[in-house]
């Protein structure tokens, strides 16, 4: 079924062309892109600005450093080795548990140190960056699954995406992995997107493959019951990413750690449009409200207050 453009316009739905020209093109300076495209830079910047990220164990830049990689790996806790410029979750090696020299993946498969070194070597030589550029491997602590999301996600850890426009939180959703998405939180692979009320952190509506959905396809859990804890803190973290990167139109990806709370995982300078479907509303009205006031609010708290006051979910 196809609808008229005028109806989309009435709902204030942002299309791909308008996103590229009016928002990304205008607000995101190209030279700032490496700050978000390179996850190592994002991480270092976030640490400087006091934004919490998963604990950093180290980075491997040169093949020569690989032989000493063991010094970087934690003795007990789980960890993740990922390419700094990987895309689509490729090349991420998750080690759930370590017993002496045996490393266990979440699936139970066991690896040796040699396997880990080979994986790291592959990352450095650009196997997982799409254009084949030499890359850097980041080693960081594994996020512990928070029980509030029990039953809402299949295997993977849910990931909260908040659109930040000129420092104001605009719209939020949480991405839940499914068996279809193979444990990944990528919407076009079949992950579920649940729109989250900016005011309360509660679910508004949910979507899979751009179509409405009410129950998690694997667990059957009612998606609208979902409520994200530490909501205020999450908003704060997300808005801080604007002050740290100066990118005007930004998607902040935040995860919840069972023990450490909300942490900034990565940033995206070209956030997708499905968040509007997940929220059952267009984003343009909110963006233009911000355009009208953006000079008047100076600090994060004022900007968040503005969004809380104005961006009531109207479904």
């Amino acid at each position: 079924m196809i609808i008229f453009p005028s109806e989309l316009k009435k709902l204030g739905i942002l299309g791909m062309n308008a996103r590229n020209i009016d928002y990304i093109g205008k607000c995101n300076d190209r030279k700032l892109y490496p700050l978000v495209d390179d996850k190592l830079q994002t991480k270092q910047l976030a640490t400087q600005h006091g934004l919490k990220t998963p604990e950093f164990f180290g980075a491997v830049e040169y093949q020569g450093q690989i032989k000493n990689i063991e010094d970087l790996l934690p003795k007990k806790s789980g960890f993740v080795i990922k390419p700094a410029q990987g895309s689509g979750g490729k090349g991420i090696l998750i080690i759930h548990k370590r017993e002496n020299d045996i490393f266990y993946k979440p699936s139970g498969e066991s690896l040796t140190l040699i396997d880990i070194k080979r994986h790291t070597s592959n990352i450095l030589s650009g196997l997982y960056s799409l254009c084949g550029k030499d890359d850097v491997a980041i080693i960081e602590k594994l996020i512990e699954f928070d029980e509030v999301f029990d039953g809402f996600s299949f295997e993977g850890i849910p990931d909260i995406r908040i659109i930040i426009y000129k420092g104001y939180p605009v719209m939020a959703m949480i991405r839940l992995s499914t068996s279809m998405s193979d444990g990944k939180a990528n919407l076009h692979q079949g992950a579920v997107g649940v729109g989250i009320d900016i005011l309360t952190g509660k679910a508004i509506s949910a979507v899979q493959y751009d179509r409405p959905i009410f129950h998690h396809p694997d667990t059957g859990k009612e998606l609208l019951k979902l409520e994200v804890p530490y909501w205020e803190e999450i908003l704060y973290l997300a808005c801080g990413s604007y002050d740290m990167t100066n990118l005007g139109y930004l998607g902040a990806d935040i995860v919840l750690d069972k023990y450490e709370g909300p942490m900034l995982l990565e940033l995206n300078a070209r956030p997708g449009l499905t968040i509007q479907i997940a929220n059952s509303q267009g984003i343009i009205h909110r963006l233009s409200m911000i355009d009208e006031v953006s000079v008047t609010h100076e600090n994060i708290q004022q900007r968040i207050d503005f969004s809380l006051k104005n961006f009531k979910n109207n479904v």
Binding site: G15, G88, N122, Q189, V207
Partner: protein, 510 residues
Amino acid sequence: MTSKLQIYLFSFLLIFIAVATMAYKVKYLDFPLFSGEDKSIFNIEAKIKFEGTGENAFISLALNEEQDEMFVYNESASSLNYGYTTAQVDGYKRAEWAKRHIRGTQTIYYSIDVIEDSSYISQKTKKYISSKPLDMNSIMTQATIAIMDDAEINSADDLSMTAKLIEKFAKEEPTQAVGLFKRRYIHSDNDLRNTLVTLLKFKNVQVRRLGVLKLKDGQKNVKLTPMLEIFSKNRWQLFDIHTGKIDRPENLFVWQRGGVSLLDAEGVINSKVSFSISENAISSRRAALLKSSASEISLMDFSLFILPNESQNAFKQLLLIPIGALVVVLLRVLIGVKTSGTFMSVLIAMAFMQTQLIPGLIMFLSVVSLGLIVRSYLSYLNLLLVARISAVLIIVVGIMAVLAVIAFKLGFEDAITITFFPMIILAWTIERMSIVWEEDGAKEVFMQGGGSLIVAVLAYFVMINPIIQFWTFNFPEFLLAVLGVIILVGRYSGYRLSELYRFASMVKKK
């Protein structure tokens, strides 16, 4: 806002320049807007033969005058060791050859090329030059009065009087007066024409003589056909001396006009001039080029046509790429088709142009699917990117060779054109597809692959369109219009067609 205005101004300016240049070329340089219009080009060669007597020779040939609807270029004289000049004598252009102490039979050639061109208007028109009436004795004067009075009574004006006169002379059984003229003066067509002129002058008709060539292929050693022209109602009207008025002088080329002699020769004997005419068909585009280069239109000095033929053909292909790019831009920005790689589709379309569509599609699909199978094995080997692409490349070459051989054995000779597929592009396509397969699943591969193929097929159909091909090469400025459109589309911030479907569920709910 100003930047948006600039975009509009800029792109409309580009489009305007393109259209204006095209219009100029069509209107004033006579470029055809569509291909397939052929024109004839006639080569007229005047051969002058004479015998030298040992004296200094001076040969002078009356040259053709400017003529409406006949475009003349490439005038050339070939004569061994003669001093050659062109000169204006009594307002008429003549070619003049001179040489000392000539002996034996000599031949001089003078040739021109002529294109019939309905839009060509001659630069200047000659004034009517009157020559003295012939001397006639009283019997002839009596006969003249008898003939001309009768002609005048039975006609309304100079034109119809001339027609009547010609008719009188053409009759099998002429009147007594006409018979007298015929017997006494008329022994050739030339005499007939001259007699007609003399008679017409008696009634003060403005008349002049013409020597005309009929433009017809394969004519050898022909003489100028004598004709005459009457000035009436502010224009000259052509008459055939046997059949009368010629309304549409098609394929008639006036070489000699007025009373001047065609050939003057001094110091030689037995001089005569004859003409031969040959016709060649050339495309009207080539005709336009010839004309413009002859008129030294500087615009053409910087056109693609000055390149050697081989590079021209290469450019014919290259100039189509922007058209393919336009198709890609339109489909991606306005429709929202997902493709793998930005311009891969255009390159595939270029390959289709060489292989034909259906064989091309079959070959492309078989190479890519075989490649994907092999590539999936390669991914187990965990090779580095450059090595992996190179491996895929070699496999692509192999697959192409094997397919070509098998198909040839089976009798599909089309399969040999498989070499037109850009191998590197195929290898990258396979690589990208296999990454997409691993990351996003088979569905995405079919979406992107199918999207790319749809775009490629559409681009192919646009690029093989003869009009498009003709325009991009003959009017390269057409590409400015394409650029203008692409810039305009580049600022289109409305919805894509695919988004009308994607966001449909949001409206349904309300």
